[in-house]
C-alpha cells in the first residue's frame, strides 16, 4: 500500500464501521418501536380484556412473563420468526442466545400458555414449543408458600405432609403442600374409582362426587336396558346405585378427593375433583373379572358420551390373568384414560410372578408399590424393576370410611389412589395432556430413593409438586 493512501483508507474503514454500528442500532430501535405501537386487530379488541391499553408500551400493559418457549428450525431467520409471531398476535420477548432458534414468546391476548404452545407446535417452521413453567425459589417465599388445609385431621396425613411424627421421616411425603400452590384440583376432572363402590353421602366426599350432567344421556346397556346412572354404576347388581357396603372404595376415594379446606376430617390429594364411583367388588371386598370389565366398559361409554374421565383408580387384583380384562383396559387407553393399579401385597417380584391388572403390558397402566412413613418399601409391597412403575405412601393411611368415619389402612390399595390423585392434579393443571404424556409425567416426577433402587421402573416416590413443575 502506498504510504500516501494509508490515511484515507483508515478513515474510510472507520466511517464504514460507524455506519454499520449505527445501522444495527437503528434496526434494534425499529424493532422496539414496532412492538411499542403494535396495533391489536379490531376483532381481537372486542374479546380482549386489554383493549384500553393497546397503545401503551408493552412494559406498561401488565403483561406477564413470556408464556412459551419456541425452538424454530435451523434456517428460519429473524424476519420469518417476526412474521410468524406477529401473525399469531404474539411477540418475541427474548432470544435465548445459547440455543440458536430458541425464543421466549409472549402472547398478546388471553390464550393459555398451553394453547399458545400448541399453535406453534402446528407450524412447520417450529421444532418444538412448550409452556413456560414458573419455577423459582421466590414462589415458595411469597405467593407460592406451601399451603396447609384447614381440615382438622390433616396433621395425621403423613402421605401429604410428613413432619416426622409417629416415628416417620420429615419430608417422606408427596410434597402436596407445594403442589397445592399450583392447583388444588378441578371439578372438571373426573376420576373413576373402580372398587367396592363409594359412600357418596360421606360429608367429606359428597361435594366431590360425580353427578351425571343433563347433557349426558343415561347409560344404555344392550342387555340391561337404560340405567339412570346419577352417581355411577354398580356392576355387582347391574344397578345405578354404587353405594359402598365394604369401606375399601370409600377409603380410596377419600385419598383421591376428600374435600379440602372444608373444616371437616381430611384433605384429598385433590381438594376439588369429581369422583365417579363404580362398584364391582361386594361387601367382602372381592369381585369377578366379568364385573370389573362391565364397569370399565361403563367408564369408556361415559367418556365417549362427553364425561371428562381422565383416570381409573384400581386398588385390586390377583395373580390370575384375564385376556378380556386386558383388552378392555386397552380400550380405556384408546379412550385416553389412565389406568392406575395396585402392584399387589404378596412381597413378591412382579417381574417373575405377575399381578394383574397391574402387570398388563398396556401403555396406560401405571403399577404402584407402597412405601411406609420412612420412605422404605412396605414389607408387604410387590415390586418389579420392569413391571412396577412407581411408589407412593401406602402404610397407615388415614382416609374416609363408612358411617361418616375415618380409618387408617395399609396396602398397595392405598398407594394407588395417591398416584391416581396426582394424575388428576396434573389433568386439572393441563386439561389437554394426553394419557401417554400423563404417564410419562408421573414417572418423571419422582424423588429417587435408595430403598427403591432396582425395585421400580422410576426408582422413586411420586412427588406431586414436581409433577406440576413447581419443585
Amino acid at each position: 500500500m502506498n504510504r500516501n493512501n494509508f490515511l484515507p483508507h483508515v478513515a474510510l474503514a472507520l466511517v464504514l464501521i460507524l455506519v454499520a454500528a449505527f445501522a444495527g442500532q437503528l434496526r434494534r430501535w425499529q424493532k422496539e418501536w414496532k412492538h411499542r405501537v403494535q396495533i391489536i386487530p379490531a376483532e381481537d379488541k372486542r374479546r380482549s380484556p386489554i383493549n384500553n391499553v393497546e397503545a401503551a408500551p408493552y412494559e406498561n400493559r401488565g403483561f406477564g412473563a413470556p408464556e412459551v418457549l419456541v425452538k424454530f428450525r435451523q434456517g428460519v431467520n429473524e424476519e420469518a420468526i417476526e412474521r410468524i409471531t406477529l401473525g399469531l398476535h404474539d411477540r418475541v420477548e427474548d432470544e435465548i442466545e445459547s440455543v440458536p432458534g430458541l425464543d421466549a414468546i409472549d402472547d398478546l391476548d388471553d390464550k393459555t400458555a398451553e394453547a399458545v404452545a400448541a399453535q406453534y407446535r402446528g407450524l412447520p417452521e417450529v421444532e418444538y414449543a412448550e409452556a413456560v413453567f414458573e419455577i423459582s425459589a421466590d414462589d415458595f417465599d411469597s405467593a407460592g408458600s406451601p399451603i396447609t388445609p384447614r381440615d382438622p385431621r390433616f396433621s395425621e396425613q403423613w402421605a401429604l405432609f410428613n413432619d416426622g411424627s409417629r416415628g416417620g421421616t420429615t419430608g417422606a411425603d408427596i410434597s402436596a403442600t407445594h403442589a397445592w400452590t399450583v392447583t388444588t384440583g378441578s371439578d372438571k376432572v373426573v376420576v373413576a374409582v373402580l372398587d367396592s363402590g363409594v359412600d357418596y353421602t360421606h360429608s367429606d366426599l359428597a361435594s366431590n362426587m360425580w353427578i351425571r350432567p343433563n347433557s349426558v344421556d343415561p347409560y344404555e346397556d344392550r342387555d340391561l336396558g337404560t340405567i339412570q346412572d346419577l352417581h355411577g354404576y354398580n356392576a355387582v347388581e347391574n344397578s345405578a346405585d354404587p353405594m359402598d357396603d365394604n369401606g375399601h372404595g370409600t377409603h380410596c376415594a377419600g385419598i383421591i378427593g376428600a374435600e379440602g379446606g372444608n373444616d371437616i376430617g381430611i384433605a384429598g390429594v385433590n381438594w376439588k375433583v369429581q369422583i365417579m364411583p363404580l362398584k364391582f367388588m361386594n361387601a367382602g371386598g372381592y369381585g369377578t373379572t366379568k364385573d370389573a370389565i362391565e364397569a370399565i366398559n361403563y367408564v369408556i361409554d361415559r367418556k365417549k358420551a362427553g364425561v371428562n374421565v381422565r383416570v381409573i383408580s384400581a386398588s385390586w387384583g390377583s395373580t390370575q390373568k384375564s385376556r378380556a380384562l386386558e383388552d378392555v383396559i386397552r380400550k380405556a387407553y384408546e379412550a385416553d384414560i389412565l389406568f392406575v393399579a395396585a402392584s399387589g401385597n404378596a412381597s413378591t417380584n412382579n417381574d417373575r410372578s405377575p399381578h394383574y391388572p397391574s402387570s398388563y403390558n398396556v401403555p396406560n397402566v401405571v403399577s404402584v408399590a407402597a412405601l411406609d412413613r420412612n420412605d422404605q418399601l412396605a414389607s408387604f409391597s410387590n415390586y418389579g424393576l420392569k413391571s412396577v412403575a412407581i411408589a407412593a405412601p401406602g402404610v397407615d393411611i388415614l382416609s374416609t370410611w363408612l358411617g361418616d368415619e375415618y380409618e387408617e389402612k395399609s396396602g398397595t390399595s392405598m398407594a394407588t389412589p395417591v398416584v391416581a390423585g396426582v394424575a388428576a392434579l396434573i389433568s386439572a393443571n393441563e386439561p389437554k395432556i394426553t394419557v401417554d404424556q400423563l404417564r410419562s409425567r408421573l414417572l418423571a416426577a419422582v424423588d429417587p430413593l435408595n430403598s427403591l433402587k432396582g425395585k421400580v421402573v422410576s426408582g422413586g416416590r411420586i412427588n406431586a409438586a414436581k409433577a406440576l413443575g413447581t419443585k
Partner: protein
C-alpha cells in the same frame, strides 16, 4: 363372624368335603394374622380383591393325617389350597 364361629364352620366344611364325621376333624391352631388382601390371600378362580391388608384368622385343622388351612375374617371363610385350589365357603 367370631373366631369360634369361623372354626366351627370350617370343621363342618372339611368333614363334608372329606366325607367323614365332624368329630374326626381336630383343631390344630387358630392364629390371628394379617392377610395380604381382601380375599385373604386365597382368591378363588376369576376373582379379584382389594389390595388392602386385612386382619383375620388362620385356622389349621387336622383330619386323616393331613393338615388343612382355612382363612377367615369377620365376614368370610375360605379354604386355602385344597387339592391345589382355593374355595370360598
Amino acid at each position: 363372624m367370631t373366631k369360634e364361629d369361623a372354626s366351627e364352620k370350617a370343621r363342618k366344611d372339611l368333614a363334608r368335603r372329606l366325607g367323614i364325621e365332624e368329630s374326626q376333624v381336630t383343631e390344630q391352631s387358630v392364629a390371628e394374622t394379617d392377610f395380604p388382601d381382601m380375599a385373604l390371600g386365597a382368591a378363588a378362580g376369576g376373582e379379584m380383591s382389594g389390595q388392602m391388608i386385612t386382619r383375620g384368622w388362620k385356622i389349621h385343622l387336622k383330619a386323616d393325617g393331613h393338615t388343612y388351612e382355612y382363612r377367615a375374617d369377620k365376614g368370610q371363610l375360605r379354604l386355602y389350597q385344597f387339592k391345589g385350589k382355593n374355595y370360598k365357603i
